[in-house]
């Protein structure tokens, strides 16, 4: 019964979305206040109904109601509770339900926080948001119904893919979806602005917090997925340039560009048309990601089922929204007024530089991801585009961007002085060169990693220098504390975001250049020396959990000091229902950021194949992304950017002193 209520609630949500997609926009055209005002309550109602539907499916999973096809295929009565819950979105139908639930949540939030938006803009935004919602409700209800029942209910379920029975994977999809779907708000704002044919700095101020929120979640979601791949797959890699990873990287890159171009629009009333285009692109790439991952055109852990009907449906949605919005853009972009002028060397110029390289980077990832698909569709030729392609294309494009990054925030708006910037950053430059030389001498005369460390130093110290100059630590230390407190939160956000990039780069360089890998067969009693560690295989121990059996390999690791040995226990698990093995790695962190990583392969006679890694500074990769996300959150708490979108007058007054800096 509860499941049927859930199904019915989803249909009602669709009905509400249909009303919401027409009435408010019609009201905005006719100037009918009541019709426009309807958008708010309807979007809240939509969210309530979707929440009911989502809760109903969660209930079915929690109580293991195997008469529901979705539960039967993805759950098992002995599965731990946390994975019964995460199993709700660990499958195609449930994850699409989560998608629409988050879409409805964002719609309701815009309705709630956007009460002081201009009435027509709010009506149009919520109307466009409802178009997206209608498309996806139809997709779920027509092709991916999670509430379908069996006539003859089976006794036991088929269990969730064991790779997905993991805490990392329990939170990765919701985070990622909050990011993907969050860009729908920027998209709706862009479409609404085009429909109205009017756009100003206030628009950017309203859009930026939503974009920033989406960006923070997307950053965390990608980082979480990457860390999961690192410890769960047992290959020790953290990024494989797999098409499904690229599918999330593309909207992230476009979203990062959007965040930066929206600053120009907000502060200088410039780059309007470009910003609108980026808003459309960011969400289009999110839709493309959904298509790639959900349609089954790609083979991966994310492709739960290949059903051509679903692929065609999502492709239809993709074509409709991307094509529609770009047509709208082409028709209306010319009506938007041009913004302020700026010299090539200026803050605006630096942000344009950022946008150029980020979008060029996005384009290379796009080509690398879609070229194999297009080639196969047109000529039938099958190729694989992997890390070597992206190292060759995406890598070089990021280098100028990262070199320029610390200089951007130093440049003044309108016309900057590059010499003054170089002067202020002279000490940082010297320190970065020193970092290159020291790394080169200490780490085996390898020039590329040394340059990488230098660039990471440049990024970290450069962004630190900027914030220290702003609080006048070098010129007037007596006022520093007061200035530090008075500095807008977004300045701290910028600092953290940029600093995080440097930290992440340092992790990437160190892991890439100095990791140590051993693959060998070990028997009980065998030792191996890895870096400064002595890794000793003691014995294999059988063990069992709620829905799996495992063989644990017990290792004792000493680190060359008198510290007592540490026990590490990687294991090979077999999940009973699917009789599918998984590798459970054992990871030990040393010196805060470096990790020793043990993964078991198959048993060979008395021995077992082992993969042992030493991963120097590897944690910095994810700590860097975490710092970037924290930067985003700090920025969000800035008065000017508060999600509540303060009234334009107050904002304009508050923005002036900051803009003058």
């Amino acid at each position: 019964m509860i499941v049927e209520i859930g199904h019915y609630a989803l249909v009602l949500a669709l009905a509400l979305a249909l009303v919401q997609s027409v009435v408010p926009i019609w009201g905005a055209v006719k100037g009918d206040e009541r019709a426009m005002a309807l958008a708010g309550p309807i979007s809240v109602g939509q969210f309530v109904f979707v929440a009911v539907a989502f809760s109903a499916l969660t209930y079915a999973h929690v109580v293991s109601d195997f008469s529901v096809v979705n539960v039967f295929e993805n759950s098992h009565s002995t599965k731990p509770m946390i994975y019964k819950i995460s199993g709700v979105w660990g499958n195609h139908e449930g994850s699409m339900l989560l998608w629409v639930a988050i879409l409805a949540l964002f719609g309701a939030l815009v309705a709630f926080f956007g009460r002081n938006l201009p009435q027509t803009l709010r009506a149009n935004v919520l109307g466009v948001q409802a178009w997206v919602a209608v498309a996806f409700y139809l997709f779920v209800l027509l092709t991916s119904n999670p509430f379908a029942r069996f006539g003859q209910p089976p006794m036991e379920g088929r269990d969730l893919n064991p790779l997905l029975q993991d805490v990392g994977l329990a939170i990765h999809p919701p985070l990622l979806y909050l990011g993907y779907v969050g860009f729908s708000i920027a998209f709706s704002f862009a479409a609404a602005a085009l429909i109205e044919g009017r756009i100003d700095a206030a628009w950017a101020r309203w859009v930026r917090p939503w974009t920033l929120t989406a960006w923070v979640f997307l950053t965390l979601g990608i980082a979480m997925g990457s860390y999961w791949a690192y410890y769960e797959l047992g290959w020790g890699g953290w990024w494989f340039w797999d098409p499904v990873e690229n599918a999330s990287l593309m909207p992230w890159l476009a979203g990062t560009a959007l965040l930066h171009s929206a600053i120009v629009m907000e502060k200088r009333d410039g780059l309007k048309i470009w910003t609108i285009l980026l808003a459309i692109l960011a969400f289009s790439l999110s839709l493309l990601g959904t298509f790639l991952v959900r349609s089954g055109v790609l083979t991966s852990v994310h492709a739960f089922a290949t059903d051509p009907a679903r692929g065609v449906f999502i492709l239809g949605i993709l074509v409709l929204f991307v094509g529609g919005s770009l047509t709208l853009f082409a028709a209306r972009a010319a009506t938007l007024t041009k913004g302020g002028l700026f010299a090539p060397v200026s803050r605006e110029g630096a942000l344009v530089f950022n946008n150029l390289f980020l979008t060029a980077g996005t384009a290379t990832v796009f080509v690398g991801t879609l070229y194999p698909l297009m080639l196969e569709a047109t000529t039938g030729g099958k190729i694989s585009v992997g890390a070597p392609f992206f190292d060759m294309t995406f890598g070089p494009l990021m280098v100028p961007l990262l070199i320029a990054l610390p200089m951007g925030p130093f440049l003044a708006w309108k016309r900057g002085d590059i010499l003054a910037v170089v002067q202020r950053l002279a000490a940082v430059m010297v320190l970065s060169v020193v970092a290159v030389l020291v790394t080169w001498m200490l780490k085996g005369h390898d020039i590329l990693p040394a340059l990488g460390v230098g660039l990471a130093t440049w990024l970290m110290l450069g962004s630190l220098a900027e914030i220290l100059w702003r609080i006048k630590l070098f010129t007037e230390p007596s006022v520093s504390l007061r200035r530090a407190v008075g500095l807008p939160r977004s300045a701290w956000g910028t600092f953290l975001g940029h600093f995080g990039v440097g930290v992440m780069l340092l992790g990437i360089v160190a892991e890439g250049a100095w990791k140590i890998e051993h693959v060998l067969v070990m028997k009980p009693g065998d030792h191996i020396r890895v870096e400064r560690f002595d890794v000793a295989f003691e014995r294999a121990v059988p063990n069992s959990g709620p829905n799996w059996d495992e063989v644990i390999a017990r290792f004792e690791v000493t680190d060359g000091t008198s510290n007592p040995p540490i026990v590490m226990e990687p294991s090979k698990r077999t999940y009973r229902t699917r009789s599918m093995p998984t590798t459970e790695t054992a990871i030990e962190t040393y010196g805060l950021f470096s990790q020793l990583y043990l993964a078991i392969g198959e048993a060979q006679g008395e021995g077992v194949a082992m993969r042992i890694y030493w991963k120097p500074l590897v944690l910095l990769i994810w700590i860097g992304t975490l710092i970037m996300s924290i930067g985003g959150v700090v920025s969000l708490t800035d008065r000017r950017l508060r999600v509540g979108a303060p009234t334009p007058h107050r904002v304009a007054a508050a923005a002036l002193p900051a803009a003058a800096e």
């Binding site: 295929e73 893919n161 790779l163 047992g234 083979t299 991966s300 852990v301 492709a303 739960f304 089922a305 290949t306 059903d307 002028l341 700026f342 010299a343 090539p344 344009v352 530089f353 150029l356 390289f357 060029a360 980077g361 384009a363 290379t364 080509v367 690398g368 070229y371 030729g381 099958k382 190729i383 694989s384 585009v385 992997g386 070597p388 392609f389 190292d391 060759m392 294309t393 070089p396 494009l397 693959v519 060998l520 067969v521 090979k572 699917r578 009789s579 599918m580 093995p581 998984t582 590798t583 993964a599 392969g601 198959e602 060979q604 194949a609 082992m610 993969r611």
Partner: protein, 152 residues
């Protein structure tokens, strides 16, 4: 600078970045991609020795042999033809005889495919698409294999 000059500088620079990106992509597409082949493609000599390839097919039943250390030999088949493969390293969890696999590496002059990466499926219900296509192409796409890829 006048408005026009500023705009031209911007467009010129954008064009430069775009040209650089296009150049890199074209170069990399020439040089840094891997072609996918089936055992039949190899057998009929469609491929020069020494090119990097992805080889897809089923792991032939009874063909897995362990050698020294972590080296393993097996044969990949698409039903019509078979290619011997050697690999040193750890096989993925779902690598099994009779199941689909994708091996990446090169064919040596002795006709043995030397793999440096071996991939299997993420899920026991699933078969890599390339493998399914290779089987279809060789006419060995049976009911069982079809069941293995399609849900239910």
């Amino acid at each position: 600078m006048t408005r026009k000059q500023k705009r031209l500088t911007l467009i010129g620079f954008a064009g430069l970045v775009l040209a650089a990106a296009v150049g890199l992509v074209l170069f990399a597409l020439n040089d840094r991609i891997t072609f996918f082949t089936s055992p039949t493609d190899l057998a009929v000599g469609k491929v020069k020795p020494g090119t990097r390839l992805r080889l897809g097919g089923l792991v032939e039943a009874g063909s897995i042999e362990r050698a020294e250390g972590t080296t393993v030999r097996f044969r990949v088949t698409d039903g019509a033809n078979t290619v011997p493969v050697t690999y040193t390293g750890i096989l993925p969890d779902l690598f099994r005889e009779g199941q689909g696999t994708v091996a990446e590496g090169m064919v040596g002059t002795d006709g043995v495919f030397k793999a440096d990466t071996v991939l299997a499926k993420h899920d026991e219900k699933y078969m890599p698409k390339e493998v399914a296509d290779a089987l279809k192409a060789s006419g060995h796409w049976g009911e069982d294999a079809a069941k293995a890829t399609l849900k239910k």
